[in-house]
Amino acid sequence: MTAPSPAAPANRSLISDQELAGPRYRAVYFTVLTVTTVLFAAAFLFPLYWMASSALETPRQFAAQTPTLLPKSVHLTAYQDAWSQMDIAHFFLNTVWYAAGGWLIQISVDVCAAYALSKLRPAFGKAIFAGMLASLMLPSAALLVPAYLTVSDLPLLHLNLLNTPWALWLPGAANAFNIYVLRRFFDRIPGELLDAASVDGASRLQTLLRVVLPLSRPVLAVISVFAVVGMWKDFLWPLLVLQDPDKQTLSVALHRLSTSTTQVPPTEMIAGLAIAAVPMIVLFLFFQRHILGGLSAGALKG
């Protein structure tokens, strides 16, 4: 560790602050900044605005489609109809239930496995860990058909999990990324802390619950957010294993409604899309530091 020399600020990028302050670049910089700001708003924010505001129009206003930036009059009927008549409420609650249960199972299974691999060091632990990591390299697409057959008839038990939440929860628990991240984090917790707990008479489970987990709050937050987001966004797997319309997730139900023969008014459909998007946007705004931070950590690790 050497102190950075005062002449070279370590955090500078391609163009230095002095260069930008110069008369030649100042105008260029502010032009580029303005153009980028506007382009980003048009490309990434406007589609969401369009979604939220189109659902505020009546079907007739929507069909007239003279593009208006602000809806002439605000009608909440599309949102209300989507929520109750299209039964988005039901699928919303389904998805919340699947995500909550999936999160709980994923976290408990993966925390326990990572804890054992990191701190209990069992025989063949390395081989088992390698086998888990290897599954990261398996493209989910390639496993789709055999995984579907497995879920429809579990080996040995001959249980059919199709159209039950377990069809999402159990395969979701086999998350090698979680175990990898948790194990790395647990490895950095000093053994003396755990020894102190065991000297105080704590069992391994108590040590996990009272020492390890409280220390792991940041990594648990990241994993939890990614788990919930992953389950909310998932489409292909729930499409296959939840074919009973009553059991479907919001994403799958939206697809089914869009292809069904009964015509849904477009404004109602768009309202459904907006409702499905809101939890993710809220989650993102609340946990953006965790989400973007988790992403950068992944990039640097390679």
Binding site: L14, F40, V145
Partner: protein, 318 residues
């Protein structure tokens, strides 16, 4: 792991400490404790191992076995040797699906590979609104894919859709978008790029910020202009992450499903992809799980090549 770290279970005799080390009974006690420790560890790992075994390791083997069987879920599976693969190669849709998937991947790289990099380099130089840019570019990634694709379905509507309305307003030629055999594929790529570029952009941005500032400082002192610094400092420093993201992007775009599935369906030969064909074989049309499994094995083999390259690359860097 030293034995001192072994748990002291209440009620277990502290006997081994009193015996002379190396004696027969001491060794037996140590063995017993190791077994107890391992049993405990495996109790912690049991649920995880079962989940991986049932939903990851076993399906891998079963998929390969299935590709040599005829299975429609109604009658008992029957061994058919290489018949599934032979039928695949005889199916014109098989070749169309691979050609389309290659085209989609190629277009997605052309569009989706350079753009995030350029945006990341640009954002790294902007001193204002940093949070805004990051949040905006990542917002589409947060949306459920079906929401994105259905939203774009409204934009692509040839009549009153947003795109054609804007194009008409600007007196530019309109397009049939996904309904035109020529524009369909690029339309799918556009949605996919919009939805996914945020992740790559932010990863590039993180890597850019990890470049030591001294390198730019030294280059500048040597008289390198902005372009020269970009060419001789930024690019070489980013080579590794660019290669990593290239492989990851190939692997993920080759598994494209939801864009063609929602926008053009799994029957349209101009946009059928490997994944939509697998879906069609197994679930939508043919109910032929053996055929779908052999297609999956081939996809697995192709993606396996890129996964192996990725592994070698990231291993070397460790």
């Amino acid at each position: 792991m030293a034995t001192s770290l072994a748990p002291r279970r209440p009620g277990s005799p502290a006997a081994p400490a009193r015996r002379r080390p190396g004696t027969h009974s001491a060794r037996r006690a140590r063995l017993r404790r190791r077994i107890a420790d391992n049993a405990l560890a495996y109790a912690f790992m049991a649920a995880g191992i079962v989940c991986f075994a049932v939903f990851s390791w076993y399906p891998l083997v079963r998929g390969i076995v299935l590709s040599f069987q005829q299975d429609n879920l109604i009658t008992a599976p029957r061994w058919v040797g290489l018949a599934n693969y032979r039928r695949l190669f005889d199916d014109p849709l098989f070749w169309t699906a691979w050609k389309n998937t290659a085209e989609f991947t190629g277009l997605a790289l052309l569009l989706g590979y350079a753009v995030p990099f350029v945006i990341a380099v640009l954002l790294n130089e902007l001193r204002h609104f940093k949070a805004y840019f990051r949040i905006a570019v990542y917002l589409p990634v947060m949306l459920p894919p079906i929401v994105v694709v259905m939203l774009w379905q409204f934009f692509y509507d040839p009549g009153g859709g947003l795109f054609n309305t804007v194009l008409r307003g600007a007196h530019l030629p309109t397009s049939q978008w996904v309904q035109s055999p020529h524009a369909a594929m690029i339309s799918l790529v556009l949605v996919s790029t919009w939805a996914n570029m945020g992740g790559a952009t932010l990863m590039y941005l993180a890597a850019l910020q990890a470049i030591p500032g001294e390198l730019f400082e030294a280059a500048e002192l040597d008289g390198a202009g902005i372009w020269a610094r970009l060419r001789y400092v930024t690019l070489p420093q980013m080579r590794f992450i660019m290669l990593v993201l290239l492989l990851l992007q190939i692997i993920s775009t080759m598994q494209v499903f939801i864009e063609p599935f929602q926008l053009t369906g799994f029957t349209d030969p101009s946009t059928i992809t490997v994944m939509t064909l697998i879906y069609r074989y197994a679930f939508a049309v043919d109910n032929d799980f053996g055929l779908a499994a052999s297609m999956s094995v081939l996809l697995f083999a192709v993606l396996g090549v890129f996964a192996a390259l990725y592994l070698r690359l990231t291993r070397e860097s460790d």
